[in-house]
Subunit: 476 residues, 2 copies
């Protein structure tokens, strides 16, 4: 007879940790560092704070080349975590502050826990979290493990102390099995690319040999934090509407539409309800299941709604992206002026997929310094996170490799020195896995990336034609 | 101030249903059908029952081309579900009978719930489950919805009735939004490929226009169901060992090793504990955290263990695979005998990755009937499931497209008529997502697929050389 069993969310992601990017000791130390750094960057940007992030990886035991035991420590000057929620924030899978409609790196309520979990299952390590939410707050010190089968924290220590230095921020430290020598190139590349896409952050990395890497900020201006938005009517289904109906105090369906969805005024609500042929005076709490289905289908099909509000997004901007690209590729302003190098960037207008707003930013760079390896050099970013793995499965690669005719832009793919940068910003990045390494080819997103690259491609073509022309002139 | 929230596993997979293969109305009806059919096939094979599966998709309302409302009904003659667990089996995410170390299609405790959930959020549908676990058991009739925020079933009806027809099996029925016209080619291809890899199953499909498709069994012999196995010492970590230690009644570490892991006898246990330098007489319950880490690391590094026991696997076998390939490609025995077509299959010996046993089966077929489309024609299977999406991200495609030098085997990729079949069987298929569409390039798995194709490639080369030779002979 079959034996039935329920497992917790923590147990699910423990058993399937490879799906979250924790396959091997080398891949896992990369995932650990990126999950913690992304938490720190979110915490700083939310507070409008120029991020100062310190990452130290120290070797404790075992071989230096190959899997050994390491100590991971990440410190930030972000908004901190209130003492009473620290245990759940780090000890309960599917718990967090990013289940909102606004652009953040975090989205699943899982990443930090996975990092701690991997350390725990490889070294039996406990995790120490130190945090303060403000110069006037006390400093919380929590040491915990995760009870994986129950999906809850096991508190080893939980106290607070006076905040003499008036510090605000968070420190995370725990032991983990890691293969640093194998992961090193990707970890360093992750920091370098983070420096492009987060040019207002200082990141310091101390590696196991004590080497210090500093990625200094190029600007102190932190963009305004994205603000939470209400759902757009194109992005809902019966479940979302049902939840809204339970909580609403609206007296009519018209008021319900205006209060629960973004950018719906009296006129739009009235016209929509006519289109949906749903009575306007009806009490929203009296809507039957059938009415809800009718309402949701009408919402999906009505084209009179305003496009989604993009204040929930926080793109980088064309100037900062250009600055970051020049810095990463070592292109000087002089080279740009004399025409021996070229950079063009573009921010598209907000678009949507499934009711979620998104913005595409792209950049193209041509410079003799770019070493071509027989294929297009592509840099991918999502919500200011560099994506370094699974390029072949990503929508940007699909566009760049199969949908752009590069000869149209005077480029021989893999030969002409060229780097392509794609940044996708959204309240819901269509990642294909919880490991956040590649983006699904949602038609609207694919289409926007394609159009963005075509647009900057024309600028590149102009530059390459000019240079070709000059070269021919010189020969005569 | 940040607002913290916990969400249930059902809410997580509702919000991220695209990760599970429920992106659009056309992709979702494909995922719905495959998840239910895979549950039915598992239920039959577990009982050694030749599967008779009936799938009916009927149109209820809305356009016939484009998203409309459909009724899905799947019936099987499998082992059924006990009445008391039906609500959780279909109403609680991360609940099921397949969290064991044996080869099954199901693995996450999620698929059936996702199908029901998608129907519920698009049409407010409830699901009707009818099941009996044996001719002597009563028939259970349950109607339920899923409370997504609480991750528990909401029972609308729950009764049993006398089993007059002495029936055993399961019937699932619910409404869902679907775009059948768009999904049809893939759904039919899924059934066709299932017929190759499950040649002992009868599948009947009635489509929305009332058309009947019958995929008849080629044999009544059902392979023996895989048996559950204990973990292999190479596949464990501190968490798994800790759970075993809590439950064990072993009086010594040596007895603990023998009782909890597969294929460890007295001698192996004794030699291993010498290697691990852990006292043999020690009470396993007195092992400290440090001891556990020491034990786990020693297990990973000790190479004196027997390779994993493959009775937990259930491959198809070379003969049945060849039969299925000939049937799918319309190759007759006469064509094989006269040399105008060729099929070769191979089952590799069991191998392992991360302590999980796996077996690779491959097939190559060359026949004038195979229309080449400028690229290698690849059929992928995992645990007797056809994988139809995300080919470019799959380890088999990586091997076939970038690691095999086909000219070595007298094949011009994309021109020479050739079909490649790869079947991976394991207690844990290294899927990259919960949508079960592509397999990660775990080095051991990639290596085995490569060696398997090279092996059958030599047979193909022999055949193609012979034919080339005969063609040259004819010309003289
Ligand atoms: N360094 C930090 N500073 C402030 N808050 C933090 C920090 N790290 C984690 N948190 C809080 O803990 C929560 C859980 O983090 P976790 O990484 O597990 O999930 P997430 O970031 O919300 O989503 P994701 O799984 O996508 O990373 C966060 O939502 C955030 O509120
Ligand atoms: N047709 C069926 N006959 C018998 N048992 C079934 C059937 N369908 C589902 N079940 C039972 O319900 C459980 C849950 O099914 P579900 O598809 O949600 O998860 P799973 O098959 O275990 O894993 P996966 O998410 O990988 O499909 C199964 O484990 C099985 O015990
Ligand atoms: Mg996070
Ligand atoms: Mg299933």
């Amino acid at each position: 007879a079959e034996v039935f069993q329920e497992i917790s969310a923590a147990d699910f992601f423990y058993r399937n940790r490879d799906i979250a990017g924790f396959t091997s000791p080398s891949r896992s130390i990369y995932s650990t560092i990126r999950e913690l750094v992304e938490n720190s960057l979110d915490a700083c940007e939310t507070g409008g704070i120029p991020p100062d992030i310190y990452v130290r990886l120290s070797h404790e035991s075992g071989p230096l080349d190959g899997p050994g035991t390491y100590i991971v420590r990440v410190e930030d000057n972000g908004i901190g975590i209130p003492a009473n929620v620290i245990p759940s924030a780090f000890g309960q899978v599917l718990y967090g502050s990013k289940y909102k409609l606004r652009q953040t790196r975090g989205t699943f309520g899982l990443g930090g826990k996975m990092a701690l979990l991997y350390g725990q299952i490889t070294t039996h390590s406990e995790a120490a979290i130190t945090s303060s939410t403000g110069s006037k707050s006390r400093i919380a010190e929590v040491v915990l493990r995760i009870d994986i089968q129950q999906n809850k924290p096991v508190i080893v220590k939980n106290k607070t102390r006076t905040n003499k230095p008036h510090w605000q921020g968070t420190i995370i430290e725990f032991k983990t099995e890691a293969d640093y020598s194998r992961a090193m190139p990707r970890i360093l590349e992750y920091f370098k690319q983070t420096a492009i896409i987060v040019p207002y952050a200082n990141i310091t990395f101390v590696d196991p040999r004590g080497r210090l890497y500093k990625f200094l900020r190029g600007t102190t201006k932190v963009p305004p934090a994205p603000t939470e938005t209400s759902p757009h009517p194109h992005g809902v289904d019966v479940e979302t509407v049902q939840r809204m109906l339970k909580l609403t105090n609206a007296k009519s369906v018209q008021e319900f539409m205006r209060k629960n969805f973004q950018r719906i005024g009296e006129t739009t609500a009235r016209k929509f309800l006519q289109f949906a042929s749903l009575g306007q005076k009806k009490n929203p709490r009296n809507l039957s299941g059938q009415d809800m289905v009718k309402l949701v289908n009408a919402m999906k099909n009505y084209d009179g709604f305003l496009s989604p509000d993009p204040t929930c997004l926080s793109p980088l901007g064309e100037n900062l992206l250009e600055t970051g690209i020049k810095k990463e590729l070592g292109i000087t302003d002089q080279e740009i002026e004399t025409g021996s190098a070229f950079v063009t960037t573009l921010q598209r207008r907000p678009a949507t997929y499934a009711g979620f707003p998104f913005i595409i930013e792209v950049g193209l760079a041509s410079s003799k310094q770019i070493e071509m390896q027989g294929k297009i050099l592509l840099f991918r970013f999502a919500n200011k996170i560099p994506l370094l793995f699974d390029e072949a499965s990503d929508v940007s690669w699909k566009v760049v490799d199969t949908e752009i005719d590069w000869r149209n832009y005077k480029v021989i793919p893999g030969e002409t020195p060229l780097a392509v940068f794609v940044h996708v910003c959204s309240t819901k990045i269509p990642y294909k896995t919880v490991g956040k390494e590649f983006i699904a080819d949602r038609p609207e997103v694919e289409h926007e990336i394609l159009n963005a690259i075509r647009e900057v491609g024309r600028n590149l073509r102009l530059y390459l034609s000019k240079r070709e022309h000059l070269t021919q002139e010189k020969r005569r």
